[in-house]
Point group: none
Chain length 402, copies 2
């Protein structure tokens, strides 16, 4: 029995409320040896006071050393082992732009690239053309018709777009056409398995027409497709945990992954932490579980903006009393993964975590940070352990065995 | 997907250097309740200074309570789950003496022993005869011919040798002939499974002839065979991790296990830690990864020589600046397992570990020892987590998922 099956078996309904507050990429690293992390550098009296009355610890998103993308980072927060449950790149990309993906759709991520007179790739990202130039080409590609299926082409950013095929009998088991190097031609779409052969054939037809259309539009005069995928049809979070579940997020990617596991995505008026907490307040009676996602910690980390990330954390801290006023039975605060400004990217570093509940054990941690939480009473856990702990502290898990 | 497959998928090449410094059996235990371990008793200013700027923690070689042999201890250091990947003792021993083992060979470790007039074992190690006397008897045994297979008999050290059978249809699934006690006769070679029956029969023929030859050569007037095995054909470390990998070890066993996973074994001029570090220096440009093995910590532990083990640790500490001068991007210091002088044997106790890298998080540990490392920022990991962490800190692991 895997963990989700165990949760499905043991979870019970009651009137408690659980809030999972995720500061995207909140985990950091010192810019100088021995220095503070972003979280440690910030002035966070509310987070620290909460830590003092919470069970604290460190949590590993996927496994030691593994840097998760947003998909695996969130799946594990929701209790899904991301090595077992995978979401294809195309699906994530489609969800990321808010595309209304249907269960049987095949989505692929597209890159515009540059090819020379012989059709060999000279730049895999077409010189990172501006977003508007990408959008112009997407407009062209929308005119391509395929027999028996609908096609959707949507711009993402710069040289990136999404292609979605909708119809009967499609499958996503198709190899990338991106050869991952320059000096060679894009590959044809090749099916990995028999059921995907028709889809690969349609993709190749589409690529052939697109090739003609783009030929006189350098530098983006060709394209590659990657991560063909369908909705993985994951077991649904509200069913497994028996929680009426809402997602409060501002960015498309996180709304998308929440929808994929069956949460209801609530509209937010504004994009500040206080706006998101207000959304929680307004919907407090309607749901048992709120996933609240703060994006800008990650964005600042990705930009290498240590001070900016500190500032976002302080903004969350300032708004925190609004959330505390709702008196959730269980409040968990952590991140999906670390994004140290030092690295300007996601990283593998463990995340500080705190869980506040009436049934929590005390520890000696009085500050929410990477060093302070090392000694907490949660010890070192993995993200997939968070939902079982949250349910347990909400009296929502029955005894296992007699 | 298991961990090695994940590493194979995510690992990328760059110009960083990783050093894994293994003090064999370095983990210890107090001789008196409340006393220091060997590592804590030693004067180790360089190791302690390194700990102060490293991420420290504790690592479990295989699983709580499990005492690993040298094979599993090292496989796990290299990222192979030793419960999944097993190496037979005979193969380890053959590799340990640099024997050019072929994939289908069956190897067994041999011990000369002493038997009385009734054929009952009186000394399982034949009074630890000198290496030359072992070699003389090996020379005798080489004249034994078996139908349809080649035999190789190679001296190891003192009373130990290796027997290798080479031919068609051989299998290693054979019970040891060593009864592991005195007062009884050696056991016959018995096949565990049908495919090994022919091999067991050949081994018994060989033992019968050997028994006659050795009869008038006391004290080594008989032999036992253990650990019949074939090369397990492990996935290769340099391929999985995309590292040009070198092993710097003085003892045959560790050279052998390194060769088995595909590392290149570098010759060392001398056997002191400083000599091994000098070998690393001379080969610095040629490799990305250096496994450096210090044997004598374990030997002293096995001898129950607390002070001797402290002294070996201090020798490593003195030489450490030579290694630090090379400025590896990632330096990991730990052991393959504990060998407390108290126990005079390998043990299950967790190992202190420190990882030094620019991307490391600070912690409050300022001493490299079993008690001090408990509060470190690596927390409690397993040996199989070490390679993913080392690769991550060397920027050699791509993001998992989008």
């Amino acid at each position: 029995m895997n963990q989700l099956e165990l949760m499905q078996e043991l979870s019970i309904k009651n009137n408690t409320k659980i809030v999972l507050l995720v500061l995207d990429g909140v985990g950091g690293a010192p810019m100088e040896p021995g220095g503070p992390t972003e979280l440690e550098a910030g002035r966070t009296p509310n987070l620290d006071a909460l830590a003092a009355r919470s069970s604290c610890g460190m949590s590993i998103a996927v496994a030691p050393g593994i840097t998760p993308g947003s998909g695996p980072g969130h799946l594990s927060l929701f209790g899904y082992d991301p090595l077992q449950y995978e979401i294809g790149r195309g699906v994530l990309e489609a969800l990321g732009i808010g595309f209304d993906l249907q269960p049987a759709d095949v989505a692929a991520r597209g890159n515009f690239c540059t090819v020379d007179a012989n059709g060999l790739i000279t730049d895999r990202r077409a010189g990172r053309i501006p977003t508007e130039e990408g959008a112009t080409r997407v407009e062209l590609l929308r005119s391509i018709q395929l027999p028996g299926v609908q096609t959707f082409v949507e711009p993402v950013k710069e040289y990136r777009f999404v292609l979605v095929l909708r119809g009967e009998g499609l499958a996503g088991d198709i190899h990338d056409t991106d050869p991952q190097q320059t000096g060679v031609a894009p590959l044809p779409a090749v099916a990995h398995s028999q059921p995907a052969e028709q889809t690969a054939e349609l993709a190749n037809r589409w690529i052939t027409e697109a090739t003609h259309m783009l030929a006189d539009h350098p530098p983006a005069n060709m394209l590659t497709l990657r991560g063909f995928a369908v909705d993985p049809n994951l077991p649904k979070f509200p069913d497994i945990h028996k929680l009426r579940s809402a997602a409060v997020a501002v960015y498309p990617m996180y709304k998308g992954v929440s929808r994929l596991v069956g949460m209801e995505v609530l509209p937010v008026d504004g994009d500040a932490p206080a706006d998101e907490f207000e959304t929680v307040r307004q919907n407090w009676e309607k749901y048992d579980f709120f996933f609240v996602h703060i994006k800008k910690t990650d964005s600042a980390g990705e930009d290498g903006d240590f001070e900016g990330k500190v500032h976002v954390i302080e903004t969350v801290d300032e708004a925190l009393p609004d959330l505390l006023d709702l008196e959730p039975d269980v409040l968990v605060v952590t991140g999906d993964h670390s994004t140290p400004a030092l690295l300007k990217s996601h990283s593998w570093h463990a995340l500080p975590i705190m869980l506040s509940a009436r049934t929590g054990r005390r520890d000696l941690v009085t500050e929410f940070g990477e060093t302070a939480c090392l000694g907490g009473s949660l010890g070192r856990i993995r993200h997939v352990d968070i939902m079982p702990l949250a349910l347990a502290h909400a009296s929502r898990l029955a005894k296992f065995g007699a």
